[in-house]
Each structure stands twice: as structure tokens, then as C-alpha cells.
Amino acid sequence: MMYFTPLKTAVILGLCLLGAILCIPNLFPAPATWLPWRQVHLGLDLRGGSYLLLEVDMKSVTRERLESMVDGIRQALRPGAIFYQQLEAQPDQKRILLRLRDATKLDAAQAVIRPLISPEGPTNTPEFQMTSSPDGTIVLTLSQVALNARALGAVQQSIEIVRRRIDETGVVDPQITQQGDSRIVVQLPGVSDPNRVKELLGKTAHMTFQLVDEQANPNGGGLPPPGDEFLPMQDNPAEKIAVRKRVDVDGGDLTDARAATNQQTGQWVVTFAFNSLGARRFGDVTRANVNHRFAIVLDGKVISAPVIREPITGGRGEISGNFNATTATDLSVLLRAGALPAPLTVVEERSVGPELGADSIRAGAISLAVGFLLVIGFMATFYGLFGWFANVCLLVNLVLMLGIMSLLQATLTLPGMAGILLTLGMAVDANILINERIREEQRLGRPPLSALEHGFTRAYNTIFDSNATAFLAHVMLFVFGSGPVKGFAVTITVGIATSLFTAWMLTRLLVSRWYAARRPQLLPV
């Protein structure tokens, strides 16, 4: 128990040294890129920055899928002259309802629809379940499996788009991660006013090109004719335009978009370029509709609806629509980054300015220093030499904690700093248990070496049990906590582990060395 082979001694001291080496990267920036330079990150509450929790609107994912299916069915039924009374997406029930005018056409309708819902890809389960009843109704229900797959895809795609949009703003080192099933965490260090980012993320930026129905009267108050929709103008929502529901060209086919000024008018415009598919479609539509109006629709609002003067075949064009430098740039950023599959809502926002962060660091550092000194003073006063052994361990403990946190590249938050201090207060508990036990064994009349042996052995049982329970509580905090509180849980859990090491190994090593050198008749505990 009290004897350490040279190898064991070397391993213990080596681990302490390793801890110290791991702390070094926190002191200055990496001198060379090939060095593994792992540091403790400062949390947003200390360095200043913004934390945004975004929620992907899953309802709209469902609705969109249903509506595009309705479109597909409408087009499929037309050639066979299958007429219907009702064809409607019902997003709340996750289904599509089709009521035929003529119930005898039920089989024909099903035959036409079946290829549309046949499984695609490797999953081999149909996306929709089709049921029919003899009165001529067909119900298509979106399966839960397909819905989950689509939701997962939507979140992952949203993360990608969010990352691209934020990268465009030049924020350094943003962190974008998924949380739960439908949420995205965005952390923006150094951004204390997240307004611009929020604006960029607040739009789905789904752009479409749709023909204008020039016969319809959108501002007369009636319902839109079948296949049409009335959309408001972006600049003047009171004014509506009747556009065909059919999307001729989709913004997903864009390869580039830039803000520029039109050389003739001097106005801000957004120029764009299509990929080959988009360019061909755009060419076809413009060729067939010269002298008609073509609406450019963004998120359900018409940006502009210019008249097509001549076919546009090169796949390039420009959008004009009352832009200034900022709005043109923003729109080009959004179009370049691509459309979000569903709208995002900010459900939680926390931003901390740099001043408050600096205040917090100062407050944390002062508390840490004062607390550390108080604990050291206490141990020295009440345990003398054995208290100083504990104090050495305490210092090593602090170094090891920082070392491990650097290795994990953990985030240090203000509650995390509190956690470090509390850990230091609790870490000496192991030494107190050991010291008290040794003292007790000596009082029972054991000679020094035997008292040390028994003291350490017996104290360790207690130390293990008492730390295990505290460890459990903090692991739970890590699992269920969020943000800065997670940082607190990390520091405490790491601290419990390191304090077990210093108590079990280092204290014993120090005491055994001291005993071997002095051979005292009485232990000064």
C-alpha cells in the first residue's frame, strides 16, 4: 500500500506532467498548424456572442409534400378525362382526399395514381397508403416512416443551408448543430447583435417563376380561377397579382446570384444564372410566352412581374424590383445559399455583449482565486503537514482538470467556473477523509506505518462510494441540462474523476516519500 515501484512513481508523476503539458495550448496561440493545439473554449456567456435555437416547421414540410402530390395527381387525371368533385390536401390528417364525379372510374383513377406513389429508392415502402371506397372516394395517407425520413432530411438540409447563409455573413467560427428531432442550434461567437443573421434565417427564400394570368381580376375580391392563385406584391401587399399555380422554373435550378447595378437605369438588381436544366426550361417558357408577363415569386410574394420581351435562352437574367444595396445583396445571398425546405422560427435567443462577458470573466477569476486561497488556508490550519499534501493535490487537480478540458476541447462557461471552484472545495474531502482516518488509526495505538496503511485503505472505500453518487447526479445534469449548465456539469464530472486520481495516487505517493525520508515516530495528523 505504501510502497511504490519506481515505474509506478514515474507513471503517476508522468500523468501529472501530461496534465500540465495539455494546459499549455491555452496560454498562447498555436505556433505551427501541424501541432495538435487543443484549447478550452470560452462559452458565449464569457466571450460574448449569440445563441439561437431554431425550430424547423415540420407542419409545412408535410403540407408541401401533400400539395406537390395533389399537383401530380391533377396532372395525371387530366389526360384520361377523369373528373373529380374534390381534390384536396388535408395536412392535419396527413392525407389527400379525392372524390370522383363518376364512381365507375374508380379503378381507372387508381391505376393512374398508383405509379405516382410507388416506392422510390431502397426503402421499398410506399410513401402513401391508398384506400378507396365504392362511392368514388380515394384517400392517400402519408406513412409515418416516409414522414420521419422527410423530416430528418428537412432538418439536415436546413442545417446545410443555414451554414451557407451564415458563412456569407462572415461570422468567424459559427457552430451549427442539430438538437432533438426538429431543432437547430446556432452559436455565433462575437456576434452580440444577431439581428442580421436572424433576418437572413427568417426567410425560406423559395423562388419560383410563374406565368401571370392576365385575364383574371385579382383585386376584385372574387376567388381565383382554378389553377390560379392570387399573390401579393412584395412592395405593396395590398396589390395582388393572379399567377398560374404551375411552377415553370424553380429557384433550385439556380447556380449563381449576384447583386449588381443595371447599367442603363442605375438601379440595384440581382443577376442570376441557371444550370442547364433550368436554362432550357427558362428558354422554352420565355420563347412560348413572348409579350406575356412572367412573375418572379419569393416565399409567396411577387417581387416583380415583367413582360417577356424576347426569349431568354442563355440561362442568365436579372431581377429588378425596387432594391437598394442591402436588400439586393441579401436576396443574392439567399438565392446562392438555396431555399430552406421549411420555414425556421427562432424559439430561443441568448446574446451577451463583450462587456458583460469580460465582467463575468473578471468576477469568475476573482472568486476562483479567493476561494482557492480560503480552502488552502483552511487545510493548512486544520491539518498541518497533511493539509499541505492535500494542497499540493489540489493544485495538481486544478491543472489536471484544465488539461482534460483542453483535451476534450470543452467549453468553459460562467457556471463552469463555479463548478471548478466547487470541485476544489469537494476534492479536498478525499484528503480530509484520509487524514481523519489515519489520525483515528493512530489513536487506536497503531504505529505510524500501520496507521497509514489502514488509514488509506479504509478511507478509499468511503471515498469511492461518496464520489460515485455525486458523479451520477452530475452525469444526469449533463444529459438533461442545456447551454451553460452543461458546462457546469462537465467541469464537475471531470473534477470528480481527477480528484479520485489525486487522492488515490498522488497523496499516497507524497505521504510515502515523506515517510521514507523522515521515519517519524508519530504522524503529525
Binding site: S192, N195, T345, V346, V347, E348, E349, R350, S351, G353, E355, L356, D359, S360, A363, S367, V370, V375, M379, T381, F382, Y383, G384, L385, G387, W388, L414, P415, A418, L421, L422, G425, M426, D429, I432, L433, E436, R439, N461, T462, D465, S466, N467, T469, A470, F471, L472, A473, H474, M476, L477, V479, F480, G481, S482, V485, F488, I492, P524, V525
Partner: protein
């Protein structure tokens, strides 16, 4: 100072009969906890926005804060001005707004406050903005409860496996009493109840368990050592033997938390005060609550295996 201890907290070989105060301890604890439960419902906790949802903005103005101006600028934006209060030094202002009808409205309100302040007070700085929507706040609260509940369950199972079920029940009942008192403390002091407070309560849970385990551990050891000593004496002996350690550790944790309460700044000092309270409660409950419960539950069961046949068998059959 470098050799022998200068002081001892408690002299060696004390023989205080703690178990004489067992009824007193339990009654006082039950009354305090009952009062805390009442305080929890009336007046209730001062819930922070983590759990109630809403907006908190911390603002620093260039000079001393002009409250009239801040209020009027908010009123002009149709934002209720009751939520404006002083915070920290005289140039700092806290604006607190309740839950908004929708997630989108939260965001709009934040923007409106921001622009209103920037317009009316040039040079104003937003130190901190927290906006939590209703769905998130409900979830945060639920997660906090989960963390608490699962921790308690795990502690109970762990102690049951390592000791006996009487120890586990004693510890968990005591912990629940400790936690209710901490909540009562929060209700009285009006310290804001937020996520960090859940961390504080879990830390108290960890600390308090730690403290109980040390006493229990000694009881377990003494049960093996003194096969015929009555349980009441044995528990008293165990508490006395571990008294220096119990007080010593609570002192060091207390000393470590004190600077946080004094210098830790607004956001962490509440946490530290709750910790300080929890340390005192946790330490005293090890002696006056956990130990008496163990005495009541274990009186005829927790007796030496083999020494006296009858009670040992009884103990064996009731043990799960």
C-alpha cells in the same frame, strides 16, 4: 503551521448523543419542509424566463440611467414599462417582459425594444438579451425535473446495492426534505429560479448524498465491528467518529462557495447563495434526519448477521 495542525474543529473522542434529538430533528425538518411546500405554491417561485418564457434585456447607458426616458421610449412602442428596473450599478437597467403570444412575437418585441432604446438613448449598449419561447421553456422545465428525478432514482439504487435498502430509503427521504427546503429558500429570498438553479439543486443533491454516504459507511463498518452494540448507540458512535470530517468538508465547500456569492456577479451569486444554504441543510440533515430514519427503519432489522439468530433471520427475509 507546516507540521502539526493548528486547530481541530472538534476534539477527539466526542460522545454527543445525537439520537436523543431524533424526534426534534425530524419534527423541525418536517415543519420547515412543509412550510417550504406552502411557499412553493404561495407566493411561489420567482421564475426566470428559462421556465416562464419571455424576454430579459440588460442594458448599459452611457451615464446614469434615465428611467423616465427609457420608460417613455418603451411606451411609445406600446411595450409595457413595468418591467424596467435597476440592476447592478446605476448605469445598468434590466428590462423584463412576460411571455409573448407566439414565438414570432417574441422576436418582434426584442427588435422593437432594441430600436426604441437605440433611438431614444444614443450610445446605449445591450449587454445581454435572453428570449425564450413558450415551447422551449416548458421543455427546459421538464428536462430539469427529469434530471432531478432520475438522479434521485440512481442514487437510491446505488445506495441500495452498496448498503441496504434502509440506507437507501433514509438517504432519499432526507434528500427530498433537503430539496424542498432549498426550494423554500428560493421562494423566500425571491432569487430567480432558472436553469442555473436546477444545477445548484443537483449539486446540493450530490453534496448532501456524499455527506450521508460517509456517515452510512461508518455505520456499516461499525455494524460489522460491534456485533452487539444497540443500533442507537452505534449510530451515535458513527456520527461522532465522522464529525470532524463532516464539519471539515462542509467548511471547505462553504469557503469555496462564499467568494462566488460575494464576487461572482449577478448571474452566479444567486446560485452560490443557494449552495451555501444547501451545504448547511445537507450537513445537518446527515446527522439529524438521515441517521434517525436509519435508526427507525433498521432498529430490528439491521443487526449483526449470525450473532443473534432471530433478528438476523428477520432481517434476511425482509431484505429485497
Amino acid at each position: 503551521m507546516f507540521m502539526r495542525p493548528t486547530f481541530r474543529l472538534v476534539r477527539d473522542g466526542t460522545k454527543i448523543e445525537f439520537m436523543r434529538g431524533r424526534y426534534m430533528g425530524l419534527i423541525v425538518s418536517a415543519i420547515l419542509s412543509a412550510a417550504s411546500v406552502i411557499l412553493f405554491f404561495y407566493p411561489g417561485l420567482n421564475e426566470g424566463i428559462d421556465f416562464s418564457g419571455g424576454i430579459v434585456m440588460e442594458v448599459r447607458t452611457p451615464g446614469p440611467a434615465d428611467f423616465a426616458r427609457i420608460r417613455s421610449s418603451l411606451i411609445s412602442e406600446n411595450i409595457p414599462e413595468q418591467g424596467v428596473q435597476r440592476f447592478g450599478d446605476e448605469s445598468e437597467v434590466l428590462i423584463r417582459l412576460g411571455q409573448q403570444p407566439t414565438e414570432g412575437a417574441v422576436q418582434q418585441t426584442v427588435d422593437r425594444v432594441r430600436t426604441a432604446l437605440e433611438k431614444s438613448i444614443p450610445g446605449v449598449k445591450l449587454l445581454r438579451t435572453d428570449a425564450v419561447g413558450a415551447s422551449v421553456s416548458a421543455e427546459l422545465f421538464r428536462n430539469g425535473l427529469y434530471a432531478l428525478g432520475i438522479s434521485l432514482a440512481m442514487i437510491m439504487v446505488y445506495i441500495w446495492f452498496r448498503f441496504e435498502w434502509q440506507f437507501a430509503v433514509g438517504a432519499v427521504v432526507t434528500l427530498v426534505l433537503d430539496i424542498t427546503k432549498a426550494i423554500g429558500f428560493l421562494a423566500i429570498t425571491r432569487i430567480e429560479f432558472d436553469l442555473v438553479m436546477v444545477a445548484a439543486i443537483l449539486t446540493i443533491l450530490g453534496y448532501s448524498t456524499n455527506d450521508k454516504v460517509v456517515v452510512y459507511d461508518r455505520v456499516r463498518e461499525n455494524l460489522r465491528k460491534y456485533k452487539t452494540m444497540p443500533l442507537r448507540e452505534l449510530i451515535d458512535l458513527s456520527i461522532n467518529e465522522t464529525l470532524n470530517r463532516t464539519l471539515g468538508t462542509s467548511m471547505t465547500v462553504f469557503l469555496a462557495s462564499l467568494p462566488l456569492a460575494l464576487f461572482g456577479g449577478q448571474s452566479i451569486s444567486g446560485f452560490a447563495w443557494v449552495m451555501l444554504f444547501g451545504i448547511i441543510v445537507g450537513t445537518s440533515s446527515s446527522i439529524f434526519i438521515a441517521a434517525p430514519i436509519l435508526l427507525f427503519l433498521g432498529e430490528h432489522r439491521l443487526r449483526r448477521e449470525g450473532a443473534q439468530a432471530a433478528p438476523a433471520k428477520l432481517g434476511a427475509t425482509t431484505r429485497p
